[in-house]
Subunit: 404 residues, 2 copies
Amino acid sequence: MFTVNDNYLKLPGSYLFSTIGKKVAAFKEANPDKTVISLGIGDVTRPLTSSVIKALHSAVDEMASADTFKGYSPDLGYLFLREAIRDNDYKSRGVDIDVDEIFVSDGAKSDSGNIQEIFGADNKIAVCDPVYPVYVDSNVMSGRAGIYNPETERFSDVIYMPCTKDTNFAPEIPSETPDIIYLCFPNNPTGSTIKKDELQKWVDYANKVGACIIYDAAYEAFITEDDVPHSIYECEGAKTCAIEIRSFSKNAGFTGTRLGFTVVPKELKSKDTSLNPLWARRHGTKFNGAPYIIQAAGAAIYSDEGKAEIKELIGYYQENQKVILDGLKSAGYEVSGGVNAPYIWLKTPDNVKSWDFFDTLLNEANVVGTPGSGFGPSGEGYFRLTAFGTHEATKEAIERIKRL
Amino acid sequence: MFTVNDNYLKLPGSYLFSTIGKKVAAFKEANPDKTVISLGIGDVTRPLTSSVIKALHSAVDEMASADTFKGYSPDLGYLFLREAIRDNDYKSRGVDIDVDEIFVSDGAKSDSGNIQEIFGADNKIAVCDPVYPVYVDSNVMSGRAGIYNPETERFSDVIYMPCTKDTNFAPEIPSETPDIIYLCFPNNPTGSTIKKDELQKWVDYANKVGACIIYDAAYEAFITEDDVPHSIYECEGAKTCAIEIRSFSKNAGFTGTRLGFTVVPKELKSKDTSLNPLWARRHGTKFNGAPYIIQAAGAAIYSDEGKAEIKELIGYYQENQKVILDGLKSAGYEVSGGVNAPYIWLKTPDNVKSWDFFDTLLNEANVVGTPGSGFGPSGEGYFRLTAFGTHEATKEAIERIKRL
């Protein structure tokens, strides 16, 4: 008799955003007259930029003619895209990354879920608390997390790094030594960032103890301050201890278009085994490339015109960051994040539970956010709002919250 | 110190098609004057059909406007696509599949590589020999295959079902009882098919012993004979023992466009645990949907116009099947497959090794095929050609082979 992967049964509840989606759908069905505004799931609202649209149409036309039709893409992604990434995301910042260290994928979520596969089952992971659920859940699924304790809301074999008001919502180096350290800056969900000298300490630590950092830089396009690094490879020695995951979802509005990439440096090794060929093998075996037309669209954001449009697009959402931050502050809320990051992290009023605040917000203001506790126990009593709405909806949502 | 997934180190050599790609690239570089024809990797050559192109352009336009822009897709895929699949691929054949049993993905390769994840590590898999490498490799990566023996070219914990001339290139029920059985019909690489009453025997067997069949039906669109089933669910009782994987790659020319789906019936259970929510959880955690524009394009093949075009597209390749089959037969080759399937399986002349025949064909005829031994030891002495070339290239390739 076949058996199932028991590790799946250790997962508590369903995936956070699926749960929110179901709650919102139920509310809408029960209240068809209400206009619900979502500042919840982190989905973008602006259309794709002109250069991207142009590139998509042009690539579609190529697919219509036998002479220019494209079949299977190269395993690591098209060279035109990997070269654009190398030059614009790395070389321009003084970072030397080779094209065969760049793996184009269908998005950062897939990569951050799949990357754990190339590590041994006995590796101990360290994650921030609160944290993007995919890091933990994917390790639970592969049996690396141990057993869930519903009272502490923690897995027995995971090292949690609390990110609280006391730590300025940033992790501190844990007392127990981890093998794999998940870091995400600018942070989801708290919107906190890390200065280059602080990140250098993590890199030095990882190199010292032989840990691998999985660095999720999905939100780097939102960085405005000079001393906040866009890539972990801006730190010395990062190539021997870090994998970096990047997304087109938020900078280029690709949440429904799907494109991302992961950098696995060739120098990154466990003893004599380099991780780069292992990830290449996974890519070649369990993935067949992002669609050609999507890769062509991705390359378009690196043209001069494309870059200007992306800057404007990010600027649009950055205005929302300010509206949310200023509005909540003026209403007496305790808030952080929202600078260098599209996420605003707010303390719930009167210390109410995160999910209770979710329900209040949904039922009374018809605004959807994300309960902080959904990201981990240290997120209890906090709430995440995103800057990805339209200006109009964001302003309206903040007005509604003020009236609560 | 972090460690790597040692299972990856058990994989012999690199992924078959990557190896072929490297060999061909090296040959082309050394022989820039030679025109190489590939009937190898199974990549299509015809452009996308008019309906698909129209749907792509239209969906791209939707992404250009805030009112019609689409962000994250629903976890399982857009309902418009899942309904089209349910109605056209199943209901039309008398098969009742629910929309929430259909999971849209970025392709059959990803699904056939990832599906093993939801099964326990102790499950014993059975595969055909020769076989599409992804089934075995993905199980090796997760530690389910045991140790590779380079002499037998087999993994210690895998049950191999030889598909040889003696078995008419179809598997026979193995003497040792498996937990998971991978079946692919029409078959890759041999091009063999299975009649409905034969497939029913597998379904009955799986239900009897409590095995789960992973049924890869990526090539079902090539079926022309009435008694060959398009879906395993045409067999009675299949919903309690089978997962079905489908692809848009070959029927709609989506190899570089990326779309597929997997059906996991709710009735499929290991004791009390249904596999459907486990796959849903994986989908929700490690995947973020196929791009909206690609899903819209996928739906276009189910319109009346789309269906007519697909029929014509498949017909184009079916002409190649005939050219290859007839040409090789007239040249004295022993061939099978090529009916109901885009793959032609040929015996190498004088029993030369598959890779030697690959080299001869590449060097002397400048034609690329796939060595049968790359699919497993029982493929030794065989060679796979695909019908996915252009008419001109296919005819020319066969002429060149005849001249060898």
